[in-house]
Amino acid sequence: MAKRILIIGLDGVPYSLLTSLREQGVLPNLDSVIKKGLFGSMEVCLPPISSVSWSSFMTGKDPSYHGVYGFTDITAKYQLRFPFFADLKVPTFFDLMGEKGCQSVVINLPSTYPVRAFPGVLISGFVAVELARAVYPPSLLPRLQAMKYRVDLDLARARSDKEFLFKDLQATLELRRKAVDLLWKEIPWTLFMVVVTGTDRLHHYAFDSLEDPQDPHHQAFVDYYRSVDSFIGEQLDRFEKDFAGDDRLVLLLSDHGFTGLDKEVYINRLLVQKGFLAFSADNPKMISDLDPKQTRAFALDPGRIYVNLKGRFSNGTVEPSDREKVLEELSDLLTNLHFNERSVAAGVYRREDLYRGPLAEEAPDLVFLTHRGFDPKGAVASPKVFGASGLTGMHTHDDAFYLLYASDGEVNQTPQIITDLSGIVLDWLDA
């Protein structure tokens, strides 16, 4: 019997939110799968950010194996660079399946840009800024252009205009639906995956509308979830109908949790105040404006802290023998950070304790995890340690969700962390 896999990703959707919306009857389609499948919360790799999470999902490995620690990387010369999809150091399960002749169709998966040779069809997700480099095979491009396919919302506008946000969320969900329609029968596939990223955008920009039932946009927030649920229902229906004779595996998942945001925490400002970091420019714009000779440590989004170590960075100031001392000072500083009597730190983790893979040396020296409500930021321009930028939601490393259902009943492994899922999928396929 042939085997088919359908994966639907919901970027940034917390288990707890799905549970409560489900209880309110907002998610009838999802509910029907939850009733027959395995549904639960899971953790994601640190730091909890889409590029790391989706890379970890598709490789089944943590960042110290695949090499992606964030949307940005820092070079030995303190310059930001953006990891390419081709920079992943281990194969994805799409590649492993491809070696066995099984093709995949993947739509809107973050961190797959620019596309490279791919066993099947791939439309990259965030941060895919040029559609022409986000589509494999490129022969597909004219048809996507004809439908005015977009990878993302108009973020600049959606951020400041909530009416527009909700309109554009629906418009991009509709484009995702059209892309699925277009590709459903394009090639004979074993695996079909589509990711809804609007959920993450909604949460970043309007989590407050969820938390306050009196908020004028509360209903629009819930309605978007109804639309996402209908979208899921359509895909599940046609999967079941078109492949009724096959063994089918359905996986739904998110790549991190989400929670309300009270204060952004500008770690670099704290490091400046405490003498760990100095900038060479009066109005620094990016971390590359730091003054290496006056810097012992600096931070990148989200909560990644690097020691300016000799040997690692071109103008490193910290001797390897002093690293431990600097880490202790930083840990003390972050652990004891408070805002109005509230403790900020949920944990300050050392590289050695988080990452064991061959690329662990490329990891940040510390990862700063905060209590809910405090969002750690790598921004450099803020004059204060605590502030706000207009965003109302933040990621969490726990409370991501998975939902697994196999028509043959052959899935009973419970994932603890997002990297467990690729093994579960491949095992099911091989069984």
């Binding site: 303190y78 596309v115 040779a117 095979p137 990016m286 930021k377 965003l391």
Partner: protein, 273 residues
């Protein structure tokens, strides 16, 4: 050029494409005499063009024109090795041009370049670009970097040598914007003519020529690179050799640089950076 003519040239068999290219080279020698030089990047296209020019020169018994290699400051060692090996074997004199003024101020990609420390010439060139920041990171393929590290040295070279024409190895099928190019395309600042004899070759044709005539090529192509640029900004596209890749479905320039500014803007909108 008319679209129909371009289609006709594209559809010629390989030998006729080569003959057409040689005709362009001969005409260029007739028109520009010794006032023409050939750019050589070490990539597959320009190495093929250098080979063709050399073939014409030997047939006509004329000296090989000066060939010009631009060191933009981040050259793959494999390219360097190819140029050294082939220039010796084919006895082709190579002149290396570079923007020394900038290169003296930097060591690695990303090193800050302070505009105040640049010489008048480079500062004037930045003015032409309407670049007003006090410094920029050294990146040979950024907008500013490309101009200072490639355009400016070539410009100086043309002026100093009194050239009126330059052979270049661009092809129509590299990207749509090149379809308006002709075998002889005039340029301004400085005024000269770009002679482009292999415009009508497709990527496949280039590899066919390389394999048929056993031309040397940079080993990076065997590692999956399809198109070569500055080292920091170029990646392989696949793990099989370039000539075995699916030309119709994988764009040649896929492994080349990203649009950094646009990516940063998107990240900023989600609260990163």
């Amino acid at each position: 050029m008319e679209d129909s003519e371009r289609q006709r040239l594209w559809s010629l068999p390989l030998e006729e494409k080569l003959a057409q290219a040689e005709e362009v080279i001969v005409e260029a020698f007739d028109r520009f005499g010794r006032e023409i030089a050939a750019t050589w990047t070490g990539g597959k296209d320009s190495t093929t063009l250098i080979w063709l020019i050399r073939r014409v020169c030997r047939r006509l018994d004329r000296p090989f024109p000066i060939s010009l290699f631009i060191d933009e400051g981040d050259i793959f060692p494999e390219i360097q090795a190819l140029i050294e090996k082939v220039s010796q074997k084919w006895e082709i004199p190579v002149e290396v041009v570079r923007n020394d003024n900038v290169l003296r101020l930097v060591k690695d990609i990303g090193d800050p370049v302070k505009v105040a420390e640049l010489n008048d010439l480079n500062r004037r060139e930045l003015d032409l670009l309407e670049f007003a920041e006090p410094e920029f990171p050294f990146e040979p393929e950024s907008y500013v970097g490309n101009h200072l590290m490639k355009t400016v040295p070539v410009k100086l070279f043309i002026e100093q040598k009194g050239l009126t024409a330059l052979f270049t190895a661009i092809r129509w099928d590299e990207h749509d914007a090149r379809e308006s190019e002709d075998f002889f395309s005039p340029r301004e600042d400085p005024s000269h003519v770009r002679v482009q004899p292999i415009l009508h070759f497709r990527e496949r044709d280039i590899w066919d020529v390389i394999h048929t005539y056993k031309l040397p090529f940079c080993e990076l192509y065997a590692q999956g690179y399809r198109s070569l640029g500055a080292r920091y900004n170029t990646r392989p596209v696949d793990d099989i050799p370039a000539w075995e890749q699916d030309f119709d479905n994988i764009p040649e320039r896929l492994g080349r640089g990203q649009n950094k500014e646009q990516i940063m803007e998107q990240l900023r909108n989600l609260g990163y950076m």
